[in-house]
């Protein structure tokens, strides 16, 4: 079987081949060098999709909620891409990716694409892969992108930070309200959801959260973070949630969503450039051996570092005007 090239895969993606989209996401996950060029070829189609991050502690019902959101967006005629992120085992590096079990009724819907992704450690690499996967789904034509993560670590925050709107899902019991504030979930939330609103304690949690958001600000100043009670299991509150997300999006647009996205892309470029340069210097240009030799000769580490950095910087030109 001839392995696909960036060109051939991106052609298939544009033609609507879902397996090409799936493969492109795999390239992003694996750091395949074909990903960058492939994304470049379809980049003009990226930007139409709205990105909503859905995070929260385990057991809050996020997957069920994502399923309900997808259903509602489909009823509006919008195409939905879902990225479901689960943590990798710190021991084996493997992962059990079971979120899509709750979205099963969407499996054969041609307007929905669901991809499970493992966090593969918390070095930030996963966050990049998630952004890349969203770009690929966006280029394919998905208009609503839902990114689900378990909100317990930095990597998960990085992922949802890449979303336009972050929805934090909590549920009554186990002191979730207080935990959320401790864990910093409250700071990233643009919309707060109290799921399982039929359970006792839900009203109290809604009130507690209402108070808490008046005390703190959301990520962007002066957006009034709404607290939305829902019951994902029976579909109540979903319309209100969609409305809250839409309101936030409108506000972002007014605030300059395009600018914000641009900034994020700049950051993305920075990350990719840094990674490439670093990889090249340390594996291909003999810096590792240099450092080792100098340290062995007795030079202290910071002097070695300054020396190497200066060498590099003195030979790198200013960025200059961009060429297309």
């Amino acid at each position: 079987m001839i392995p696909p090239t960036a060109a051939s895969l991106s052609e298939r993606l544009i033609a609507g081949d879902r397996s090409a989209l799936a493969r492109m996401i795999s390239w992003a996950e694996n750091g395949d060098p074909r990903f960058g060029p492939a994304l470049d070829l379809v980049f003009s189609r990226v930007g139409g999709g709205a990105r909503t991050g859905i995070t929260g502690p385990p057991g809050a019902g996020k997957s069920t909620l994502v399923n309900e959101l997808a259903k509602a967006y489909r009823a509006q005629g919008r195409k939905v891409g879902v990225l479901a992120v689960d943590p990798s085992s710190p021991f084996s590096g493997g992962a059990l990716l079971g979120d899509r079990i709750r979205m099963e009724e969407r499996t054969l819907d041609p307007g929905v694409f669901i991809r499970s992704m493992a966090s593969r450690g918390s070095h930030g690499g996963m966050a990049q892969a998630a952004v890349d996967a969203c770009d690929a789904m966006d280029a394919f034509g998905f208009e609503e992108l839902l990114i689900e993560t378990v909100g317990v670590g930095q990597a998960e925050y990085d992922v949802v930070a890449a979303a336009d709107t972050v929805v934090v899902v909590l549920c009554p019991g186990a002191g979730d309200g207080i935990q959320a504030m401790k864990a910093g979930l409250l700071e990233v939330a643009d919309v707060l959801v109290v799921n399982k609103s039929d359970l006792s304690g839900a009203d109290r949690l809604v009130n507690d959260l209402d108070e808490a958001v008046h005390v703190r600000f959301s990520r962007e100043e002066r957006f009034a973070v709404p607290v939305v009670p829902v019951c994902a299991a029976n579909g109540t509150g979903i319309d209100e949630l969609i409305e809250a997300i839409r309101t936030h999006r409108e506000w972002l647009d007014a605030q300059g969503l395009a600018e914000r996205r641009l900034e994020m892309r700049v950051e993305r470029v920075r990350q990719v450039v840094d990674a490439q340069i670093s990889a090249e210097l340390w594996s291909q240009r003999g810096w590792r051996e240099q450092a080792r030799a100098q340290l062995r000769a007795g030079h202290p580490p910071h002097r070695v570092a300054r020396h190497l950095a200066q060498r590099a910087l003195s030979s790198i030109p200013q960025a200059g005007a961009p060429r297309s």
């Binding site: 079987m1 392995p3 879902r18 397996s19 799936a22 493969r23 996401i25 795999s26 996950e29 694996n30 750091g31 395949d32 060098p33 990798s88 085992s89 710190p90 021991f91 084996s92 590096g93 493997g94 992962a95 059990l96 990716l97 079971g98 899509r100 079990i101 099963e104 499996t107 054969l108 694409f113 669901i114 991809r115 499970s116 493992a118 966090s119 593969r120 450690g121 918390s122 070095h123 930030g124 690499g125 996963m126 892969a129 990674a275 490439q276 990889a279 090249e280 340390w282 594996s283």
Partner: protein, 154 residues
């Protein structure tokens, strides 16, 4: 292949390619102890395992395989309906250009049926009493071979 080196040596390394496996339960059979035990064991061997849950039609399994771009599809069935369901899953995979995936499975499947299915696209099937470790090692071996011949370029 990725230019990022494994500097930390952590097994949970950001861009190392992982074997992606789909464990599917086709048909109405509700026995999932085996499927879940195998899924857990494969995870412990460093693979990324998507579990479909119960009561999947052959189309659903194939569609998930496409979206998840899996390397391996493993079917588990204890209801005696394997001679109907396994070939149908294979057919659905082929119709979606997923003929390259490693097809395997297990459950309550008599030896003669194992032979028939192994002639027809199922590289290997595992009967009761198989060690999950052996399944994991076999998958690893198969994938290493395939990746080596592809030159890590898929």
């Amino acid at each position: 292949m990725s230019a990022t080196s494994t500097t930390t040596g952590s097994s949970a390394d950001a861009t190392r390619r992982r074997i992606r496996v789909l464990i599917g339960k086709p048909g109405l059979d509700g026995h999932d102890r085996g499927a879940k035990t195998v899924a857990t064991a494969l995870r412990d061997f460093g693979m990324e395992v998507v579990y479909t849950g119960l009561h999947q039609t052959p189309e659903m399994i194939a569609e998930v395989a496409v979206q998840e771009d899996v390397d391996v599809v493993g079917l588990s069935i204890l209801s005696g309906a394997h001679m109907s369901l396994f070939p149908r899953v294979r057919k659905e995979l082929l119709s979606r250009n997923m003929g390259h995936v490693l097809l395997t499975g297990g459950g309550i499947i008599p030896a003669e049926d194992i032979e028939t299915l192994q002639q027809d696209g199922f590289t290997r099937l595992f009967g009761p009493g198989t060690r999950t470790e052996d399944i994991a090692k076999w998958i690893e071996e198969q994938m290493q071979r395939r990746w080596a011949s592809e030159g890590d370029q898929a």
